[in-house]
């Protein structure tokens, strides 16, 4: 999340809100009355403006944030697991979640924050090689495959699994902390796992 986000008061005029968004180059602005969160205003709430510049200028100047904001917003607490927050964003179709601690706004979590988490989880920010695997969707299969990698002395930067291409399979994407991925792929293949990675004959797995 972004701690201590920029906020706006409900009686601020829309022009001030829009310029705060543009200045900060972000898209969501929590609306706070005193200590209390009363809503969220987004670029999308502010931008559908009258066509003529004169009308637009008037509208921006006179309308208040409270007239265009979304009230009754979904919030999270700082100790919420990130996947729970992601689900809330998806289920409610919103772009951000204000983070409240004891009813006080302490931060804001946006989809861009989740993207950063995803990059970290997938291990792409650390030097590593990408290896894909298809495993039987059965207890112990992933463990056996990872033992093969561990026995080579290769450190794993990330392991992500998802339902595989066929029923009863699991797809796995590894990021192995090695420049020399071929022995990892061969060892996995020798142990009976369908593995693809760089340095292999045949086109790379997508």
């Amino acid at each position: 999340m972004t701690p201590r986000p920029v906020t706006v008061a409900p009686d601020a005029n829309v022009r001030a809100a829009l310029s705060a968004l543009r200045r900060g180059r972000f898209r969501h602005l929590p609306v706070v009355a005193g200590e209390e969160l009363v809503g969220v205003v987004t670029v999308a709430d502010l931008e559908p403006l009258p066509a003529s510049p004169v009308e637009a200028a008037e509208a921006l100047g006179v309308r208040q944030v409270a007239e265009v904001m979304s009230a009754g917003v979904v919030t999270v607490s700082p100790d919420e697991p990130v996947e729970a927050a992601a689900r809330l964003l998806a289920e409610h179709g919103v772009g951000c979640l204000p983070v409240l601690l004891d009813d006080r706004l302490v931060g804001i979590l946006t989809k861009a924050d989740l993207l950063r988490v995803l990059l970290r989880v997938l291990g792409v920010l650390e030097p590593s090689s990408r290896i894909t695997l298809v495993l039987p969707d059965a207890p112990g299969a992933l463990g056996r495959a990872m033992t093969v990698v561990g026995d080579l002395g290769v450190n794993l930067i990330s392991v992500v699994t998802e339902p595989g291409p066929e029923p009863g399979t699991r797809g796995v994407v590894l990021r192995a902390g090695t420049i020399n991925a071929a022995p990892v792929v061969s060892a996995l293949a020798a142990a009976g796992f369908a593995a693809h990675g760089p340095g292999q004959p045949g086109p790379p797995a997508r």
Binding site: V124, P127, S129, R130, T178, I179, N180, P198, G199
Partner: protein, 635 residues
Amino acid sequence: MAADGRLAAYDFGAGQPFQAGRLEAGLSLLRAAGVLGDDDLLAFEPAVDADLELVHDRDYLEAIGRFSGEPAAMAAGTREQVEAVRFGLVGDNRPFPGMDGAARLVAGATAAAVDAVATAAVAHAFVPVGGLHHAQRRRASGFCLVNDVAVAVARCTRARPWRVLYVDLDAHHGDGVQAAFYDDPRVCTVSLHETGRYLFPGSGEVHELGRPPGVGRSVNLPLEPWTGDDGFLAAFDAVVEPLAAALGPDLLVTQNGCDGHVRDPLSDLTLTTRGFRELAKRLHRLAHRHCLGRWVATGGGGYDLDRVLPRAWALLWSEMSGRRLPSKLPAAWLAADPARAAGPAATSWLDPRPRRARRRAGAPRAGAAGAPAAGESPAARESPNARTVRAVRRLVLPLAVRAAYPGSPGPVPADGSRRGAHRLPAWEPRAARHDAPRGPLVLRDRCPASLVRRLDVDPGIHAFVRDPEREREVLARIAEEPAGDMVVAHTHDGVVVGYVAIIDPEPGSRFARVPGVFEVGAVEVAGGWRRGGVGSALLRFAVDAEPFRDLVLVASGLAWHWDLEESGLTAMAYRRLLLRVLETAGFEELATDEPEVAYDPANLFAARVGDRVPPERRAAFTERLERATSSSSSE
């Protein structure tokens, strides 16, 4: 050459790709071929802390020192193991006895090579074990403990206000060197590598461009598996030579990793020694053309020690030293190990030409994404490599340099039309007078290359190329383009103080081959002549020629090419200034989602539609604007 037996200590152990035998395997062939003698070896000492700390953190260096003793079996979960993992000293980079000294030797060798070249003791130097380009500030990575290249370059730029061009040809992205100079506009790092989508280390995307003030000086060309020699060389030619012309480097440092070879186990670029020889020739020429010959090459990766690495090093060293290799590989060297003669053309320096690429280099997969639909823009039919190269050129090359070095022609369109077929109509050259505050100027259009070469260039024109001689050559090359128009403002003494270049839109770009659409390739006014309305007067004069009433002109401005240092303006202020200049010449700003323009809010796109442009041509232009918009938003 900076290499001796001590460097064999850089050894992750037998069975590891980076092992002690590497150096000897390579150098044995150079000696057998009679191109390397003991007199060639430079003296060097292990790098000292003060040098290493230019690039690495002290606690990381201390950890390397601590792990240099006899390897104790590291129990899982112990403090030692946790620390080793934190600094990347596991797996590929597992500690070995004496690694501290070995790493310092490599760094010392590269530093000595740079010193020798910088002080003109030698023109070129080669460090076969150097090029440990993955090492990070506080992390070992990909067999690289210390970043010898970054250390040597940092030492050099600390002492001298030089510009350095670093060209990394290893199959893997040169991430550590890039990171060390990510914000430095004087150290330009260029890495050609296999895409990091699968391959280690995973970085090296086109949009890793650097951080201010070094934006545009980190350059990445991620290439597809099976790129092959031709594709690799095409990418090199389209970017590295013009970049060198734009930068005007004082020193060339290269990482000539040969792990992109078709036999190398670590990558899929499918290069051959033919490609390596061509690359060495090009680097050699580039060093002499742009860097007073100063060139330090490092060996980098390459893990086929029998068939590839010795040949690759020999070809590179032969090019650098000017010593001819014998026509065949020495028989005694080949006989010493049967693996050295494995495969076809065993006695030849060059690999056989690939009979047929299994798949055309980086060609789109037929069927995978479906054949391109009829009516799609030419850009959609480009190979991924061609698209990458085009994007990189637009992002990092100033327009004038791009126009002067058009690179390889784009894909031939279905209608068979070629670049150059689309050209400006002829008109009688014009001249006009402009009274600038500093003195009267002559404005003239349709300047041929011969005239440009007879004029001088004001030293204040230097945003792209610092040397007026070279700047003139860039302008002359633009003037040679059959499709374009070179318009200059010069003093009565024949000194060019400003120019406008009108060019054919680059092949594959959004407006390429759209009938009647041309591009303002560059507008530049010399430092001392700005704020006198010269730019506006020049542009107004340029577009005032009769034929432009029937044509559309587009202009885009990318903020990181602007001379903000000299002008003392912010990017947004410069943008306003540029837009005002364009508007006085009848241009109008247009919204565009062209990724290169959208990348920075200060970037600018504008167009001028001539008053006699027929409706159908106007429609074709707006359709291209709109079609491009809809197709890129669906990507």
